[in-house]
């Protein structure tokens, strides 16, 4: 199924959870903040949230800045 991740169309596996997606991308879920369809998803809910077609997902983390 297709969803939008960080502004890009991506094909992902049907029915996977947010945690599976984040881990599958080689990211440490403890350092990632997620916003799904403009709603912030708390880290402890990553495993419970399943992604749906046409979802819009933002995955962010802290980088160097002043």
């Amino acid at each position: 199924m297709r969803i939008i991740i960080n502004g890009e169309n991506e094909e992902i596996q049907e029915g996977i959870t947010l945690l599976e997606l984040i881990s599958g991308r080689g990211l440490d879920p403890r350092t990632v903040v997620a916003e799904l369809n403009r709603n912030i998803i708390a880290g402890e809910d990553f495993a419970a949230v399943r992604l749906n077609p046409d979802d819009s997902l933002e995955l962010l983390h802290f980088v160097g800045g002043g």
Binding site: L27, E35, H61, G66
Partner: protein, 256 residues
């Protein structure tokens, strides 16, 4: 320095009056040593979309540091609020540096949008530190909006040009009852020292340290400069005399 001379922001007591950043280091692995040499307790970070497999900066920040995420990249109050809420969701506290900039050439902050974001986020329980032009009315708007401190710029971001806004900073230090943290443009320890001598409550230094040839040694130099400037402010500088010299040694009892 008196141990009772603490900076209090949002109910948090800080021993150090030097805030540091995490941007632009030649190698992020320098950050722990910079933290130690600076003795800083507050460190800024930015929030961006993850790259696949990217690890971000958090692995380099000692856990004792208080995180001050910024809203850089926000062009409006709405975008700043969105970023601030995401930063808080990361579980690193409720401090936020509001940075709303739509001018990409000079990176000067938008005072109106900054005050708007400050009001919304202060109401949501954030400790809000807005990055502003040293404009008295913008600063007052941020105070009224519930800011915990104001962060006026000394010179445009990343320029290392020092306190180009000195006269206006002096007005804010005089008129604003919240802590004044001079942010942006401080390139050398003497700039930071000067701000502290003027009565600024703290300085935020990123580029001045990160762009030095030896960021760790420079972090230590900034620590001492901020401490020296603060001590001088508390001591009170002697009056400036105009006209003729005034001898420091007695003018009697000369050997002839």
């Amino acid at each position: 320095m008196q141990s009772s001379d603490k900076l209090v922001i949002g109910g948090v007591e800080l021993e150090s009056r030097l805030f540091i950043g995490t941007g632009k280091y030649p190698d992020d692995a320098l950050i722990p040593a910079v933290c130690e040499a600076s003795a800083s307790q507050v460190i800024t970070v930015a929030m961006r979309r993850v790259d696949k497999g990217g690890s971000g900066v958090m692995g380099h920040i000692p856990p004792s540091m208080r995180l001050l995420p910024n809203t850089s990249g926000a062009r409006s109050a709405e975008e700043a609020v969105r970023l601030a809420r995401l930063a808080r969701a990361a579980g690193c506290g409720n401090w936020i540096k509001i940075e709303v900039i739509s001018d990409t050439r000079y990176l000067l902050p938008d005072g109106y949008e900054t005050a708007k974001a400050t009001e919304i986020l202060a109401r949501e329980g954030f400790t809000v530190l807005p990055y502003i032009n040293p404009d008295l009315y913008v600063a007052r708007a941020c105070v009224d909006a519930g800011a915990a401190a104001v962060m006026p710029l000394g010179a445009p971001i990343g320029t290392n040009r020092g306190l180009r806004t000195k006269e206006m900073l002096a007005v804010l230090i005089e008129e604003i009852d919240l802590p004044v943290v001079v942010d942006a443009g401080i390139g050398r320890p003497s700039h930071a020292c000067e701000a502290m001598e003027m009565g600024a409550d703290a300085c935020l230094v990123n580029t001045g340290i990160a762009s030095s040839s030896d960021p760790v040694v420079m972090a230590g130099a900034f620590r001492r400069a901020v401490e020296a400037g603060r001590a001088a402010f508390l001591a009170g500088a002697g009056a400036v005399q105009t006209g003729k010299a005034i001898a420091s040694s007695p003018l009697t009892g000369f050997l002839r």
